[in-house]
Amino acid sequence: MISLAGRDIMHAWGKFVFTGVGLGLLIGITLSMAGIYRGMVDDAKVLLDNSGADLWVVQKDTLGPYAESSSIYDDTWRSIRSMPGVARAANVTYLTMQVRQGERDVRAMVTGIMADEPGAPGWPPYLVAGRQITRGHYEAVADLASGFKLGDRLQIRRNHYTVVGLTRRMVSSGGDPMVFIPLKDAQEAQFLKDNDAIRQQRRRTAENPAFNRPQVPDLLAAIIASQSINPYVNAVLVQIDSGHAAEKVAASIRRWKRLTVYTRAQMEAILIGKLIATSARQIAMFLVILSIVSAAIVAFIIYTLTLGKIREIAVLKLIGTKNRTIIGLIMQQSIALGLIGFVVGKITATLLMAPIFPKYVLLEPMDSIIGFIAVVVICILASIIAIHAVLKVDPAEAIGG
């Protein structure tokens, strides 16, 4: 038996392929949306992976440092470092801001890291060019996605930094590239005020009789000195000694330091379950809407193609063609349209859309397989309307009168 669907497609292949390409662009957008969601999840995981931490010690009862603000004293790390099971501990600050370079600025997550050695918590785990930060001030390591190059001069607040190293895939959970600077500079950047504000603060302090007592001459100077330093960091990142359970060490820190501690799994749950949850739901809604639109388009196309063949179908029925042969004709065409659409969509999403999206688009093989199955199922469902129309065709329509 010849393939009626195949012959019909070959007869008008231009129209069919053109329609499939149109559908493919829609499927490409759908796959890209799924890729954006995967990219967001991957960004979050990469952020955690690259921090090199097993535990995140943050301000009590906060979801910091990524989902909420968190402040703890910058000397806390010493006592944490001395606790059983802790291999390394390091302060870290995070501040998302516009980093200027000449006339342009880039939104980046500025990360303050303690002076240490590569592999320390918070440090970029590897570089693709240049070297790590070796000086205590005014050096930076930037992610390639920021567009900065080695030797570039960056401005963060009032200070300038030289890019000495470049790294890759070091991004915030929002996809912003990371710029690493020395911790002291980062602490200053978080709280640094302009000169007018500093003068005003000093004047207000001096005018306060509680701080400016004639009988305590050094009090005012001490208070002003304390106001001009920032003794806080956002979190302490902890690496655990091998042979120790993260949850046990975390429980110990919670008990003795009265701080909130998150394990890797808990922090991942915060990032994915809370920080990007709204975006994920939004993307899921887009996926649902795009799937419905795709189904509607396939249904409409197949229905229109079928209506154009009503007389031929009446003749086929009259000459004894079984319903299942005619249903097969429609369903095969619907699936063929879906296949063309999926191939075009996959190519479009992978080669055209993913590279131009500002956010990281991660197209996973399993998503493609699920997408393929979904397209086939949608096409089968979409052909039902046309099949219903075909089954109602009366073979008598082929006979005049």
Binding site: I2, D8, E312, I399
Partner: protein
């Protein structure tokens, strides 16, 4: 009549019921022998199409009998289970317009019927090509329907009606879109094929050009048929 051919006795068809019921056929009798081509003529609304649809097992009559060859196919109810198979294997159709499947080439348009009946593709195609020789369209076997002239399309449609060698062929105004010369050519072909394949052919028509060619004519008016001897001039 033995073997092939068709006979109908007291065939009735009523549309609707109660006060709105319409009797389209009021007891039609007709007999067509194998190898015979008869004309069925009548004005619009006389019941021609209804009779054709009943004969073609497309709609169910309300009463009467139909005997196809030796087999009673209808006797106040269908006597065959699979009407599609009946239409496919025992009734050939030729329509007013060729209604060829536009996405199949000429050979496959004709070979499709035997293929549907389960005959292997190669054999089905060779049957089609054999018919093309008789109908003088062999040279167009690989063409698409849109590449054929009106006369060629109609000859291919005739081949499709004949390819399963049915005992009866129902031709619904097969010459309507054709000029006189081509219309007479089609009737000549039908006569030749009827004789050759021992097929009974019923030609529904009101084409004045071809009516004189029939030896027997059934007139149908208000759902009743009247047999009349035709001029039977035939076609040279």
């Amino acid at each position: 009549m033995t073997g092939k051919g068709i006979r109908i006795e007291g065939l009735r068809k009523r549309y609707g019921s109660g006060d709105t019921a319409v009797d389209a056929l009021k007891g039609v009798d007709m007999q067509v022998a194998p190898g015979e081509v008869i004309g069925l003529v009548g004005p619009s609304g006389s019941g021609k199409s209804t009779l054709l649809k009943c004969l073609g097992a497309v709609i169910e009559p309300s009463g009467g009998r139909m005997i196809l060859g030796d087999e009673v196919i209808y006797d106040d109810g269908w006597k065959v289970n699979d009407l599609r198979a009946l239409r496919r294997d025992k009734i050939g159709f030729i329509f007013q317009a060729p209604y060829l499947i536009p996405f199949l080439d000429v050979t496959d348009n004709v070979a499709l019927l035997p293929m549907l009946a389960g005959i292997p593709n190669a054999e089905a195609r060779s049957r089609a090509v054999e018919l093309f020789k008789s109908l003088d369209v062999e040279h167009r076997a690989k063409a698409m329907p849109s590449q054929l002239s009106g006369g060629e399309q109609q000859r291919v449609a005739i081949a499709r009606g004949l390819v399963n060698r049915p005992p009866v062929i129902l031709a619904d105004e097969p010459t309507a879109p054709l000029d006189s010369e081509r219309a007479l050519a089609v009737i000549r072909i039908l006569n030749d094929m009827a004789r050759k394949l021992e097929t009974a052919i019923i030609v529904v028509t009101h084409d004045e050009k071809i009516i004189p060619t029939f030896k027997r004519i059934y007139h149908i008016r208000d759902g009743v048929t009247y047999e009349e001897a035709g001029e039977g001039r035939g076609v040279e």
